[in-house]
Symmetry: none
């Protein structure tokens, strides 16, 4: 029973190239070559597909949206991206969505075969260029999350203590009891904190706390 592959790419030449890679092997069977994400979804709805190889840039429905839909609606169809993009944010996003593989189109044919087989066997596959892309830019991507706001410096140690308790889910009254101060005092601190970091509700306050490592 060959591995059933769907290829989605709006460049016919590339799609054919990928198709040829698989057609010389009896382990694989290309069951569809489509031009966009919508067509891919339509096909998957009607037929059995093991692996969907999706390009990102496609008309009507792009590969990202298509991947999302497939992963949500067709649990047993594995999704791998085959793209020219190597922006870490895109790659990261896709991996979080749940794609099993991400390959750049520079991947050699034989590696693509291995990759496809790995993915079919419930493993994951990312080719070297992807790893390098993540690595080379990971400082910036990393900082996007880890970078501390300079506003943290504005907070006094008492305020950081308060924000910690707030982010742990305690109410002003509970915090007051813990710190042996009036809940009104806690409220004052809370107000001051929010003014300093320029947020206007608990949700944003806690978001700030998490992003700045103030959560204990």
């Amino acid at each position: 029973m060959p591995i059933k592959i769907l290829i989605a790419d709006d460049h016919p030449l590339i799609a054919e190239g990928i198709k040829n890679t698989f057609e010389n092997q009896q382990e694989y069977q290309v069951v569809a070559v489509v031009n966009n994400g919508k067509e891919a979804l339509d096909f998957i709805e009607q037929h059995l597909v093991d692996i969907a190889l999706l390009d990102i840039d496609m008309p009507i429905m792009d590969g990202i949206e298509c991947a999302k839909q497939i992963i949500v609606n067709y649990n047993d169809v594995k999704v791998a991206m085959l793209s020219m993009h190597q922006e870490p944010s895109i790659i990261k996003n896709l991996i979080e969505i749940g794609v099993k593989g991400y390959m750049l189109k520079t991947i050699p044919s034989e590696e693509l075969l291995i990759a496809t087989k790995s993915i079919y066997n419930d493993k994951e596959y990312f080719n070297a260029d992807v790893t390098k892309a993540l690595l080379s830019n990971n400082t910036s991507t990393f900082h996007q999350y880890k970078q501390k706001s300079p506003l943290v410096e504005e907070l006094t140690s008492r305020e950081k203590e308060i924000i910690k308790y707030i982010s742990q889910g305690f109410t002003n009254i509970q915090i007051g009891e813990k710190l042996f101060i009036s809940p009104r005092t806690v409220d004052t601190h809370r107000t001051n904190i929010m003014r300093k970091i320029d947020v206007h509700n608990v949700a944003s306050l806690i978001r700030f706390a998490f992003q700045n490592g103030l959560t204990s």
Copy 2:
């Protein structure tokens, strides 16, 4: 002319396993199996080697020091690591030193062959687990050490959507506007979410969202 491979690993069984992988192929030739970094260097000084496959944990001289020496002194010997470590810091360090590949020992034999060939052809190779390891460093600090709650599974996709907006600091009214539903409906979702994950204020709700990667 086969690709000349040196294997350095202090576990004889593993070293033999790797050796066997290559010996069934005439493209490759294992010219040495050594037990530590020092022996590897000694061998390379006397013989021609195309690729050195190094373990990290070895007595006398470890794989990291060995890799450094090889890369500095023997420009035409390519170095790849084959290890059980997947700490991003180690991997990053080695890539900065200049190793051409990093594979975990969980790599399938056939993938190892492809990898070795790629590296011989002046490409780089990192297997999927390595990418994942790097990626985990890439994502936010918060989910790193905290385990995800099974309660996430209880949430419907709509509820996850709501929780995402809440954690972004939007009020029920704002969320209602975004999703074209009544703020009362948002409130109902909110109530249901809080019941499901057993929290009783926004703070805890957002804490939950952050710890479970529901913050977009």
